[in-house]
């Protein structure tokens, strides 16, 4: 019997929060259990989301727990209509349906109410221990005071987290490439404007990083946004803690 592995693998931005933790402590409530109630059969994670912008409330969040092979978005690729609906209007249902139909997806969570600046949100999920080595999480949410801005993480590996360990990731703002960044009140859902529109009229028609908003205070007279809506990277902090 030799020691399993002494090599600690660090993800970029990973912070080891706690190495020592009582096994199976009374952490989050793990409700999902298929066959038996043995805690050995499952692994559980708690996810905390902190909106780092000044005034970009984030839409309801879709979190997809999956294995390799599922992709919600990729820089340089055209957005799916499901992603477009989320990025332009904060709509989650199409993306949820598409993910649930994917054979590589294990479960999909919707965090309703979104994530407001200054008000962190927490959710948790449980997966079969037999899937642990392949576990990835993808998470997306709209920056609601933009035309088609969103943020999230794509296929983040969770397989190296021990019980009690956390990993912390900060995210970049993306542009879905599906709607021109006009910033008008009529097209920004956070200002009461239209959310999803099937028209694709962006200058760049693939997913890229977002260039930020200009705002009326910076001489874009037609913008319904003010300087308070401006943002810079990173826009969201995601902390994943393995609780079981």
């Amino acid at each position: 019997m030799k020691a399993k592995s002494l090599k600690l693998r660090w993800l970029p931005g990973t912070v080891l929060v706690a190495l020592l933790s009582a096994c199976g402590g009374g952490g989050g409530s793990s409700s999902s259990s298929a066959s038996g109630s043995s805690s050995d059969a499952t692994v559980s994670y708690q996810v905390s989301l902190a909106n780092l912008t000044n005034q970009q409330p984030m839409s309801p969040v879709v979190a997809i727990i999956h294995k390799a092979g599922y992709t919600a978005f990729d820089v340089g690729e055209a957005a799916s209509v499901a992603l477009e609906r989320l990025a332009e209007g904060g709509e989650t249902s199409t993306l949820v349906q598409a993910a649930e139909a994917d054979p590589n997806v294990l479960q999909v969570k919707t965090i309703s109410g979104g994530v407001a600046p200054g008000t962190p949100k927490t959710f948790s999920f449980t997966a079969a221990r037999s899937d642990r080595a392949e576990l990835q999480v993808t998470l997306v949410t709209m920056l609601t005071n933009t035309n088609d801005g969103f943020t999230g993480i794509e296929s983040q590996n969770l397989n190296n987290l021990a019980v009690g360990q956390s990993t912390e990731v900060t995210t970049l703002a993306f542009d879905a490439g599906t709607e021109a960044n006009s910033e008008t009140s009529a097209t920004v859902p956070g200002l009461g404007g239209t959310g999803f529109s099937a028209v694709r009229d962006d200058a760049t028609v693939v997913v890229t990083q977002h260039g930020g908003v200009v705002s009326a205070d910076d001489n874009l007279g037609s913008s319904g946004l003010s300087e308070a809506h401006r943002f810079d990277n990173p826009v969201l902090q995601i902390t994943v803690t393995r609780t079981e």
Partner: protein, 240 residues
């Protein structure tokens, strides 16, 4: 397992002689993350530690000015070869060799010579007056794996950021931004977004201003298209 541990430990201790002794076979992929900037053909070279092509906070060399103002890497290539680099590589994008927003360029099967343990990646942001993105003589990883780096935008400090379209603007010493048939989102008739840089050394780019008037205003760039937030590009080095 034992050798893995000791190598990792040595890397932590900074024993660079351990890694510099070996040749490295690797692939490089550069992705343009911006929404409205193109990247000029990307210069990639592995070289000795002592031969970085620029320093933050120092004035740009003529070769760096040619790169940042004109997207011309020939001077830097000569400079690097003279410093003992491996043959510099040029990664061309899909739009007349430029990498469009969201696009990428990849070079497989590169190899560094023993001793060339640093890698430099440089590209010009187009259209800007003298904006570039770079990895400046970073340590080339040696352990097989996939390494992801983010490139921020820098300003060469050598040309005023007037954001005006001028034929010949992509020439060192010629003020302005070269009109480019591949980049159709630019305007004309601006009066000049900015005067000379206050910081005449290489510094973090403050971003472009742009305006909402395609035939006038202060800038020939569009403020809803050409602005960016860092990072502007992603580099993936895969060590084989």
């Amino acid at each position: 397992m034992k050798s893995t541990i000791s190598k990792a430990a040595l890397a932590v201790l900074g024993c660079s002689w351990v890694v510099s002794a070996q040749a490295v076979d690797f692939d490089v992929k550069v992705t343009n993350l911006t929404h409205g900037m193109y990247l000029s053909p990307v210069l990639v070279a592995t070289h000795p530690a002592a031969s970085s092509v620029y320093s933050l906070g120092s004035a740009a060399s003529n070769n760096m000015k040619a790169m940042a103002e004109g997207g011309d890497s020939s001077g830097l290539q000569t400079e690097l070869i003279g410093a003992g680099s491996d043959t510099p590589q040029i990664l061309n994008g899909t739009v007349n060799n430029k990498i469009p927003p969201g696009g990428d360029a990849e070079q497989l099967g590169l190899s560094s010579s023993p001793g060339n343990d640093r890698i430099t990646v440089v590209t010009k942001l187009m259209p800007t007056n003298d904006g570039f993105a770079a990895l400046n003589a970073i340590i080339l990883p040696t352990e097989p794996g996939r390494y992801v780096y983010k490139m921020d935008a820098f300003d060469a400090g050598s040309e005023a950021n007037d954001e005006l379209m001028v034929v010949g603007g992509n020439t060192v010493g010629v003020q302005g931004i070269e009109p480019d048939p591949d980049i159709t989102t630019t305007g004309t008739g601006g009066t000049g977004a900015s005067g000379s840089d206050n910081n005449a050394t290489i510094h973090t780019h403050r971003g472009v201003l742009g305006d909402s008037n395609s035939t006038g205003g202060s800038s020939d760039l569009d403020n809803t298209i050409h602005r960016w937030l860092n990072p502007v590009a992603r580099v993936i080095i895969t060590v084989n």
